[in-house]
Every structure is written in C-alpha cells, then in structure tokens.
C-alpha cells in the first residue's frame, strides 16, 4: 500500500515551489519509494541503538585561533544581487 503524503506541506518545508501537477507526480513517486523504504519497519530493532555516523571517534576540535578570511570582492562576485558591500535580497515576509 503506497504511503499517503501531504506533498504540498513537505514542499513548503523544503522551500520548493511546485505546481499542482508536479505535486501529484512527486506524491505518487514518493509514495512508491516510501512503500519500499517502509520495509525497514519489518526488521525487529528492539534495543538496537541508531547509527548516525560510521566513524566511532570523538573530539575533533580546533584551537581558538583566527584564520584568514575571504576577500570580500571574491565573495560578492558570486552574489546574485549585491548592494555595495552587502548581499541584496527581496523583502522578508516574516519577523525574525
């Protein structure tokens, strides 16, 4: 049984504008994929800890030392839009 997904909500969370047709298509495909992926639920995992990372090491820290920064012109050269020394954006919708 394919998984039913509120694809419009997922797309909003992922900040991707999708059309209704795309939503229908992605929804169906994701349903199929998730049906397959849901197989993971068949495996008994009581008492099994999750693995987030394959490398069992800890503590990769850096000393509190200042390192060279990027050249502002090189950074802003990639900006889709700039205004003086800033990245320029359309207005925000929401309060921070």
């Amino acid at each position: 049984m394919p998984v039913d997904i509120d694809i419009a909500k997922v797309a909003r969370l992922a900040r991707i504008a999708i059309t209704e047709e795309e939503a229908a298509e992605y929804g169906a495909q994701l349903g199929d994929i998730l049906e397959h992926a849901a197989r993971v639920q068949a495996l008994p995992t009581d008492g099994v800890p999750p693995t987030a990372h394959p490398l069992p090491i800890a503590n990769a820290l850096r000393d509190d030392v200042i390192e060279p920064t990027l050249d502002r012109e090189e950074v802003l050269a990639q900006a889709p839009e700039r205004d003086g020394d800033f990245f320029k954006l359309p207005p925000f919708l929401e309060d921070s």
């Binding site: 504008a17 992926a37 849901a38 995992t45 693995t51 359309p90």
Partner: protein, 492 residues
C-alpha cells in the same frame, strides 16, 4: 601502446622520468583524445586546457630541475564536478550552481596539486551525485565509451567515462551509495571507495555527509593505490576525518590471495543479478580459489534491508545539505516579491527532478510524526548492517560480490522508474552504510561486449587487504579489453 593517452599512471611515470615522454606531450595526447570523444561521450563539463597546460609545463620544468614530486607528478587527472576548484566553475551538474566559481580548493584538489598532478577538468555527474546513470545532469547525459547508447553508470559517470576513454589517466569520483564502483564496473575501470573518513570531504559538495567518500577511478589497481595514497590522510578541516595513520597499502600489495579467507556474500548474488554477470564474477572467484584463497559463502541477513535504509538516510541528509542552495549568496536566483518566494522559485527552477524527489523524500522522513518510523528506524537498520559486517569479518578477510546486478543499461531505460534505478546500487550501498572500503575490478565482458566488475569489500581501515585482493583479482581474472571509443578509429 602507442598513444600516451592509453598509458597507466605507472607506465607514464616511467616514461616521464626516462625523458621519453614529457608531461606536455602526455597532456596533449589526453586532450586530443578528449577532443575526439567528447562530442559523443560528454564526460566533461569543463576542460581547463589553459590551467592544465601550465601545470604540465611546470611539471616538465620541475623534472628538468631534478625536482620530482612523486607518482602523480605530471599525470593528467580529472575531477568530478562536486569537488570545488578555486577559479574553475563547479556546478555539481546542477542549474542552481550554473556559473558558480568557488573561492577555494577542496582538500583533495590541494593535495593533487601539491603532488604535481595536472588537473584536466571537471567531469559530468548525476546532479549533486544523485543517480546511477549520469543521466540526471542539467547539462546532458554522459555516454558509455563501450556503447554510446548506454549509460556509463553514475553518479561519477563522467569520471569513469573519461578514464575509460583515455581523456584522463585517472579521475576522482565520490561514492555515497556506489557512485564510484558502479560506474567503474559499467565502464571497465578500477574504482575504489576508501574507508569513511580516510579522505577529506572538505570541499566535496555534500550529498549525504555520513555516507560520502572521495576515491579514485583508474585503469589498474596499482594506479588506484597511487591516487589513494596521494589523497588519503587526516585533514583538520574535516571533523569527520580519521585522525590515525593511513593504512600501509603498498607493502603487502603483491602478496596474493593464498591463505586469505574470501567470503562470497549470499545476499548480493540474488535473483536480480544478471546470469552473465553472476557467471563472470563466479569465474573470478574460482580463479581466486585456484590461487589458494579460502573461499566460503557468508550471509549478512540485514543487507536485504540496506537499500531501504539507504533511501531514507541519504535523502534525509541531502534535504538538509541542499538547503543552502537558496539564491541568496551564490548560484541561480529567480525573482520573487519576498525572500521566501525568491527562495522557493529559485529552488524549483534550479534543482532537477531527481534532486527534488530526494529532497522532498528526506524532508518527509525527518518531519514531525514520521521521524521514528522512517529515519529513526533506518538508522537502527544501519546498526544491524554494521553488526552483520563485523560478524562476517570475524570469519573472513574480505567479502566478494558483483558490483552491479547488470551491465550498462540503455540511456532512458530506467529514467521513468526511480525504484528500478535505485536497485542498481543494491550491492554497493551496504559498505557506505558501514563506512567500509570497497573496490570494483574489471573481470570480463558479457556476451554483448560490455564490462563487468567484481566487488571486493574489506572492514574499515582494511585497505591493505582490499588492494591486495583486488590486485590478485586483476592479475588472475582481469580484463585487458578496451572500449571501441578509446581508439582514434572508434572515435572517428
């Protein structure tokens, strides 16, 4: 071989040092091959002729001055386009990074440059490394040098095709679920994924951070060792980089397989495996047994669930990793009356369908109410996969399987069926979940003349035994066949 473009790194190195070949001549041969084949193959997104020529000329000057930087000095190498290169466009085959010029070099790029390698250019790939055919490129698919109607595999298909065709002596790829090994298998080259953490990911545009690993694509196991040695080693800029020493992969390289315990993984030779692929791989295993390897069949039951777990874990990480492509600081931007609208339409237009699919999938798997059933459960399955591998390595030194259930498939054949495409990674995914190394070695052709690779897997930091067995496979069962397109006649 008469054309330097067909040389191995070790053969080219000998000629460079004897003075019978210059680095400039070697690069010219490689660029000539690329100019003959690229119109068909489209292995590259960018060829940096000017930068490569300068590097080759510098290598020749250094050799003349007696300044030898080692095995890779003067060797033309291609880079998958998800490794950032300062001053050279890096797009990950995505519209959203069209025209993006990074202000820094990835650690692997720094290391190759320091070793005197000549960077030929940036190779095509599935967008953000998501795919198994290199058809998911915003800039057009790459074709297989053995049969241009077929895919080269993916996502490092451009790197595999370039090495296979002779447009580079070696290439770097990245492997998140088999993206080095599967295209290597489909194009008849050696492709190796190191232990997670042995090669720095700093400057590798992330797909799934806990699975991604950079590795070499070469023509021989010896060459893979050479490239591996140049790029492996701790990098303080990558917190997930392994802090210990790199395994010594050279000393025992020619040790052969006599007395080594080789486990044939039952779950990876399943019904989906093409009979011809199974037969060619089986023959290779028999040759190992003849040479004294102690071959046994082993079972890792959780591998049946590895693919499902992978298709939750990788999209979950990718949905977060790709959030930064929002039209604010770099890359594609579409107009919007608010910043939120601008981001949503930039991401819609900039990210291709497979990437969008996975971002949505991962967003769903992580979202409130679904996390435990999907992502959380997948992480527990990951633990079981790791335990199964650990148990198996209690009994054997290496594990063996085909790399891909089939040989190269036709372009377009699986594009409408994401699940069928995902199944081509079923043999390679488990070692990404475990963080273990794996390698694909060409062991023959199917009846249609398409290459077949054998996969050797070893435990984490087991690169020494991995390369040793791979080299034995190569010398016992290796295939010298070359793709038709890798000759001037074929390309003409």
């Amino acid at each position: 071989m008469s054309d330097p473009a067909d040389l191995t790194i070790s053969a080219a190195g000998a000629l460079l040092r004897s003075g019978d070949l210059s680095a400039v001549e070697l690069l010219e041969a490689v660029l000539r091959r690329a100019s003959m084949t690229e119109a068909i193959l489209h292995a590259f997104l960018t060829i940096d002729s000017a930068g490569a020529s300068a590097a080759a000329a510098a290598a020749d000057e250094a050799f003349a001055a007696g300044d030898d930087l080692g095995h890779l000095h003067g060797i033309p190498i291609a880079l998958k386009d998800n490794m950032v290169t300062r001053g050279i466009e890096t797009t990950c085959s995505s519209q959203i990074l069209s025209g993006y010029i990074p202000p820094y070099d990835a650690t692997v790029v720094e290391r190759l440059k320091a070793a005197g390698a000549v960077i030929v250019g940036k190779t095509n790939m599935d967008e953000f490394a998501m795919g198994s055919s290199t058809e998911n490129s915003a800039y057009g698919a790459t074709r297989n040098p053995w049969d241009p109607d077929r895919v080269p595999g993916g996502s490092s298909g451009g790197s595999a095709a370039a090495v296979s065709a002779g447009s580079a002596l070696a290439a770097l790829g990245s492997d998140t679920g088999g993206s080095i090994r599967q295209p290597a298998s489909l194009t008849g080259v050696v492709g190796m994924k190191p232990t997670y953490g042995l090669v720095s990911r700093y400057g590798l545009v992330a797909f799934a951070s806990s699975l991604d690993q950079i590795g070499p694509l070469t023509r021989t196991v010896d060459d893979a060792v050479t490239v591996f040695e140049a790029i492996a080693g701790h990098d303080p800029s990558d917190a997930t980089s392994y802090p210990g020493p790199v395994p010594d992969v050279r000393t025992a390289l020619d040790g052969g397989v006599a007395g080594l315990r080789v486990g044939v993984v039952r779950e990876l030779w399943g019904e989906g495996t093409d009979p011809e692929v199974a037969a060619v791989c089986r023959r290779a295993v028999d040759l190992l047994a003849d040479a004294g390897a102690l071959v046994s069949e082993v079972s890792l039951p959780s591998l049946e669930y590895a693919l499902s777990a992978y298709y939750l874990i990788a999209p979950a990480e990718c949905s977060s990793n790709l959030a930064r492509f929002d039209g604010v600081r770099y890359g594609l931007r579409r107009a919007g009356s608010t910043v939120e609208e601008m981001m949503a339409s930039s991401r819609h237009d900039g990210l291709g369908p497979e990437v969008t699919r996975r971002v949505l999938l991962g967003t769903y798997a992580l979202s409130a109410g679904y996390y435990d059933a999907f992502y959380g459960q997948a992480q527990k399955v990951r633990t079981l996969v790791i335990r199964d591998f650990a148990a198996a390595y209690g009994d054997v030194d290496v594990l063996i399987s085909p790399v891909s259930p089939t040989t190269a498939f036709k372009i377009g054949e699986r594009t409408d069926d994401p699940l069928a495409m995902y199944l081509s990674d079923v043999c390679t995914i488990p070692s990404n979940l475990a963080g273990d190394p794996g390698i694909s070695v060409p062991v023959g052709l199917d009846s249609g003349g398409l290459p077949i690779g054998l996969q050797v897997l070893a435990p984490a930091l087991g690169e020494a035994v991995l390369f040793r067995v791979a080299k034995a496979v190569e010398s016992l069962a290796g295939s010298d066949a070359r793709p038709a397109l890798a000759t001037s006649e074929g390309a003409a």
